[in-house]
Chain length 373, copies 2
C-alpha cells in the first residue's frame, strides 16, 4: 500500500490524445482538437488536466502521450515536462488499436512487465480522489494479471456512451471491488439505456483501462496478429534513424480498428476482462450539449459563460456563451442557446442541435474554407 | 401639370435626419444613427435613398437636411451634392417642432411662399412612383393653402405607428384624392388598431407633410408663439457670424415638443389639415423586428442576410443575420433569430425581443462602455 501521492512502481500512464477537431467547433479545429482546449475555462487544457491527474501517480519518465504528428509541437508546448521519447507521434490517424498497441509495444521494449494505464486526454474527471483510488486499485488488479477497465457509474440513461455489463465479483487483494466484465455494448438506444440504468449492473465505458504490457500485447497478438506484428516492428524503429521510412511504409497500411472492438470485447467474452466501478464525475464532453449540461445545470437562469464574463451581457436567456473573440456579446430572449464567438467564426445554435455541426463543417470544407474548420 | 421627372417650381424638400441611434443597435450607434445606415444592404443609406427620391422632384439648391451638429460631417460625406447653407445643424436635439420650425423659418427668409415638404430621412419607401404622385399632389394641395399630410395606407393593424382619421373629401384641382384630416391619434392599442383597419377610414401618420412656408409658420406662431419667435430669430442668424452665440443661448432653451402635438393635432381639430392617401410600401424600420418582416416575409425558410451572404451559413433557421464583421457566421436550428455581427459587438436576440434593446444599451452605458453604444 502507498500513501495517496506516492508514485506507483512500474506504472506507466499513457494518454491517447486524438480525435477529430470538429466536436466543439468552432472552438476546436482540425489543427486544435478538443484535448488542446480548455473548454471549462479553468486555465488548463483537458490534456494538461489529464496529465496533472496522472502525474500524481507516476514520474514523468513513465508518462506517455500518443498523438498525431501534426499535434506534436502543440502537445510539447502544453506539456513541457514530457520526455521526447515518451511523446509518441502517429504518422496518420489509424484508430485506437494502432495507437494503443504502438504505445504498449514501445513501453514493452523497455519494461515488458510494466503496468500500462490508458486514459483519453480529452475527458473531464471531476472527482479526482475517486479517480486516483480507481487507478491504484486498477494497477493491483492488472498486477494480478487482469485486463482491468474503469467502469463509470452512469449519471443517467445516456445513449452517447458504450456500456460494460458487470459480472461476478472477484477477490483481488488491495481493491474494494473488482468484477468480471460480462460484455461490452456499443451506444444503446434510449429504451435499452434506461433499462441498463434500472438494472444497476452496467457501467459506462470511458476507454480507461489498466493492464500489464505483455498481457495487452498477448491479447493483441491473439486477436489481430498482423496489427500486433506491425506495432512491434514500429516500436523497435521508434526514435531510430529508420523511423521515418518504417512509419511511411508500415503505419499507413495498419488496420483501422478500435481497441474495444479488436481486443476488449472478444477478451471480455472469454472472461479475461474485469471492471473496477468508479464514480468519477466523468464526461467525455462529446459536444456543446454536453458542455451546456456540465456548466449550466437544469434550472439555471442565465447562460454559462466560457471566456471573459465581462464581455457577455445576457437577459432572459439560458445555455452557453463562449466569448473567445474580443467583442462585446449581448444576448436577449434565447433559451438553451449555444453561442461560440471566436475571432474568425461565430456559431449560433441550440443545445439540441449542437450535435449536428458536421453539416456546417462539411459545407465549409466544400467551399474550400479549410482555414475555418 | 408636369412630366414625372420635372422639378416642381417653388418646392423645397426638407429631410429631418434625427432620431436616436439605438433602434438598430449595434449596427446603429449614438454616432451612427439609422439614417446613415444601409440596413437593407442595397448600397445607399436611408438618407441617401430619401435624397435620391426627392431629387427627382426638385433641384439641389432647394433640398435641405436638418440634422444634429455632430452628424454634419457624415451627412455632407454621404450627400456631397448638398449646398452648405442647406445643411441645417441643430446644436442639440430638441424634438421635431424646433427642427421643422427652424427649417421653415430659414426657407421663409428666402421664399415666404415656398412650398415645403418634410420627409423623415430614415424611412423605407418601396413604391417610388406612388410616392412621387403623392408628393406632386401634396404640392398642389399645399398651393391651395392646405397643411397636407401624406396618409399611408395601413399594411396591417400596427400598434407602432400613429393614425390619421379621414374626413370629408375636398376638391383640389390636379389631385386624385384629398380628404379632411379629422384627427390624429397616437399609437393605439391592438384592439383599436384592428378596428381602425376594419373601418378603412384611417391612415398611418409617417410624419410626411407638405405646406406653404408662411402657412406653417403661421400655425406655429398661433400654437407656440415663443417657439416661433425663437426659430425666426435663429433663422436670421443662420450662416452669419452671430450664429454660434445665438445657437448657444436660444437653441438650448427651446421647447421640446413634437410637430404633431404642437401643430398638426390642434390644426386638424380646427379643420385646417388635409390628407392625401398613398400606398407607399412604407416602413419606418423602427426596430429589428420591422427589418425581419421587411426582408424575411412569413413563410421564409432561411434567414434574411444583410452584408456578405457568403459569410453566412444557415440551416433550419429563420430571421435575420447581419454580417458586418469579417467573420464566418454559422447558424443552426433557430427560429426568428436576430444576429447582428459587427466588429466590436455581437447581438443575438429574437424577432420578438428585438424591441427591447434599451436594457442592453443602458447596461453598457452604466458600465461606461460608451464606445459600444
Amino acid at each position: 500500500m502507498h500513501a495517496a501521492d506516492d508514485p506507483i512502481p512500474g506504472f506507466y500512464a499513457v494518454l491517447p490524445a486524438g480525435g477529430p477537431g470538429s466536436r466543439l467547433w468552432p472552438l476546436s479545429r482540425t489543427d486544435r482538437p478538443k484535448f488542446l482546449l480548455d473548454p471549462l475555462g479553468n486555465g488548463r487544457s483537458l490534456l494538461q488536466r489529464t496529465w496533472d491527474r496522472l502525474r500524481l501517480l507516476t514520474s514523468t519518465d513513465r508518462m506517455i502521450i500518443v498523438t498525431g504528428e501534426q499535434y506534436g509541437a502543440a502537445v510539447a508546448e502544453q506539456v513541457p515536462d514530457i520526455e521526447g521519447h515518451n511523446l509518441l507521434l502517429e504518422p496518420a490517424p489509424r484508430d485506437t488499436a494502432a495507437a494503443i498497441g504502438f504505445a504498449a509495444a514501445v513501453i514493452a521494449e523497455r519494461d515488458p512487465a510494466g503496468i500500462l494505464g490508458f486514459f483519453p486526454a480529452d475527458h473531464l474527471v471531476r472527482d479526482e480522489s475517486e479517480f486516483l483510488r480507481a487507478v491504484r486499485e486498477g494497477v493491483r488488479s492488472a498486477n494480478a494479471g487482469y485486463l482491468t477497465t474503469i467502469g463509470i457509474d452512469p449519471a443517467g440513461p445516456s445513449t452517447a456512451f458504450g456500456y460494460i455489463e458487470l459480472g461476478e465479483r472477484l477477490s483481488v487483494p488491495g481493491t474494494s471491488q473488482v468484477l468480471r466484465a460480462r460484455r461490452f455494448v456499443e451506444k444503446p438506444d434510449a429504451e435499452t439505456a434506461a433499462r441498463y440504468l434500472a438494472e444497476g449492473t452496467w457501467r459506462w465505458n470511458a476507454g480507461m483501462f489498466v493492464v500489464r504490457a505483455d498481457i495487452l500485447l498477448g491479447e493483441l497478438e491473439r486477436a489481430r496478429p498482423e496489427l500486433h506484428s506491425t506495432v512491434t516492428r514500429l516500436a523497435k524503429a521508434w526514435r531510430t534513424a529508420g523511423w521515418a521510412a518504417e512509419a511511411r511504409t508500415l503505419w499507413t497500411g495498419i488496420e483501422r480498428v478500435s481497441i474495444d472492438y479488436a481486443v476488449l470485447e472478444p477478451a471480455a467474452e472469454q472472461g479475461r476482462v474485469v471492471v473496477i466501478p468508479a464514480a468519477l464525475g466523468w464526461d467525455d464532453i462529446g459536444d456543446w450539449a454536453a458542455l451546456v449540461d456540465i456548466l449550466s445545470p437544469a434550472g439555471a437562469l442565465t447562460p454559462a459563460v466560457i471566456g471573459d464574463v465581462a464581455r457577455v451581457l445576457a437577459y432572459e436567456s439560458t445555455g452557453l456563451v463562449v466569448a473567445h473573440g474580443d467583442r462585446q456579446i449581448a444576448v436577449h430572449g434565447l433559451t438553451d442557446v449555444v453561442i461560440v464567438d471566436t475571432p474568425d467564426v461565430l456559431l449560433v445554435t441550440t443545445r439540441d442541435r449542437a450535435q449536428q455541426l458536421k453539416r456546417l463543417v462539411d459545407e465549409l470544407r466544400r467551399r474550400g474554407r479549410l482555414d475555418l474548420i
